[in-house]
């Protein structure tokens, strides 16, 4: 299904998806007011009604909805973890802008090619073998030594070269392991327990997540248990069969 056919009926907008995109980019519709989840649901309904899955179209939808989500999250999220954002907001916006402009440029070019091909509809070229008397490439006519053998060794030599290793320094490599966080938690447990906030004080998001894995592991092993008084409250971690420590003040 072409995305252009996806008709939406949302609170703030009703019409084709393509138009919604255009209006959002022109700021005629406030993205913050668009329930993207409803767009997804509408799309899923369409897919179901159609009963077949066009992977190209689905991919296109995923890309567009992801771009909208990225844009919307930029609009609504207070602030991301400093460590995960190495671009200044302005740089990030500029990069996003350049990417959107570039993609738009080639989408335009793609439409042009579509039209060109359609305009050529009905023009056919002949494809027929040459009459026998004109067929070329008969062995006796081919000159010996037309190609240089060095071309072969050069090609093979080129294939032997290992490509240079990719420079991955710009990627954040997780340096924290479950084993390391396990021993950290066990040290805290030996002192009678701790709150989760204490266990991850000053840590980055990845470390927080790995610490949670370690905690689950300790629970599975029967070494630790925990208590959380309410949603989003701090988690008190304690050794199994030990009394909970005084609850830490939630930050």
């Amino acid at each position: 299904m072409s995305l252009a056919q996806l008709e939406l009926d949302l609170e703030v907008f009703s019409g084709p998806f393509d138009l919604l995109l255009t209006l959002v980019l022109r700021e005629e519709v406030d993205l913050l007011e668009v329930e993207l989840a409803d767009v997804v649901v509408a799309y899923l309904d369409h897919l179901e009604a159609r009963g077949e899955l066009d992977l190209e179209a689905v991919t296109e939808f995923l890309v567009l909805i992801a771009a909208l989500l990225e844009l919307k999250s930029r609009l609504m999220l207070p602030r991301e973890d400093e460590e995960l954002v190495d671009l200044e907001p302005q740089e990030a916006a500029e990069e996003l802008l350049q990417r959107m402009l570039e993609a738009q440029r080639y989408r335009g070019a793609a439409c042009h090619l579509h039209e060109r091909l359609a305009a050529e509809e009905g023009v056919r070229y002949r494809s027929a073998p040459l009459p026998p008397e004109l067929r070329r490439g008969d062995a006796p006519e081919v000159p010996a030594g037309a190609y240089h053998p060095a071309r072969l060794s050069r090609s093979l030599g080129g294939l032997l070269r290992l490509p240079p290793r990719l420079d991955l320094r710009h990627l954040a490599v997780p340096r924290v392991s479950v084993a390391e966080r396990l021993s950290h938690l066990r040290a805290l447990l030996r002192r009678g327990g701790a709150s989760f906030d204490e266990a991850v004080r000053g840590a980055d998001r990845v470390t927080v997540a790995v610490t949670l894995f370690a905690l689950l592991e300790l629970h599975k092993q029967g070494e630790a248990t925990w208590e959380q008084e309410g949603p989003f409250g701090d988690i008190a971690i304690m050794p199994v069969a030990a009394a909970p420590p005084p609850r830490a003040v939630a930050s």
Binding site: P89, A93, A110, L117, V123, R161
Partner: protein, 204 residues
């Protein structure tokens, strides 16, 4: 070779036989005449094959001259040859082809970066259909792609230079400025919000 008439006949025969478009100098060499004479004879042939005059038309594509059928015969050709002419391109294929056409030689990872989504299946199809081909390797060993003469022929292009400037599809400066403003404001709004402020309900 005596007289333009005979040259015109010879050229028509050469174009009929040749499986690919033939460059004018090649025609001149084969007919043993000057390039200027070939051009004059081609002009006469083009006139006699003007749209509506015959079943064939003269086309200048892929850096050469070739004969093709007039679209008037398309329905009958479809019935006789029992095969459709060309399958239309999917949007993904058209986008990939556009990127190759304008940026060639270009590698698949580069295409992926521009599209923001994998170009694997689209470029494989384009390779299979003979619209693009390999053109050596990048310094990192990734295969580079370029368009083929068949691409030029199927799209009725004389050369890659006949493609319009890709800048033609840039958004207007106003649209771009608006988009930039918008993104910058979003960035500022985010930077201005403290960590303690409540998070809006995640309705996204």
């Amino acid at each position: 070779m005596s007289g333009v008439d005979e040259l015109e006949r010879v050229l028509e025969a050469l174009l009929f036989l040749s499986p690919d478009p033939v460059a004018v100098p090649e025609l001149a060499e084969a007919a043993e005449v000057e390039v200027g004479e070939v051009e004059a004879a081609l002009a006469a042939l083009e006139e006699r094959c003007a749209p509506g005059a015959r079943g064939l038309v003269v086309r200048r594509v892929a850096g050469g001259v070739t004969l093709a059928t007039d679209p008037v015969a398309e329905p009958a050709a479809r019935r006789l040859l029992a095969r459709p002419r060309t399958t239309p391109l999917t949007p993904a294929q058209a986008e990939t082809l556009a990127i190759v056409a304008y940026l060639q030689p270009v590698s698949r990872p580069e295409i992926t970066r521009i599209r923001g989504v994998s170009a694997e299946s689209a470029s494989t199809t384009l390779l299979e259909r003979g619209l693009v081909e390999e053109a050596g390797r990048s310094q990192f060993g990734a295969v580079l792609l370029r368009t083929t003469p068949l691409f030029l022929r199927l799209f009725g292009l004389e050369s890659l230079e006949s493609l319009p400037d890709v800048g033609a599809w840039d958004p207007s400066p106003e649209d771009e400025a608006q988009l930039r403003d918008r993104l910058l404001r979003a960035g500022e709004a985010r930077a201005g919000l403290g960590a303690d402020s409540a998070m809006p309900a995640p309705d996204g």
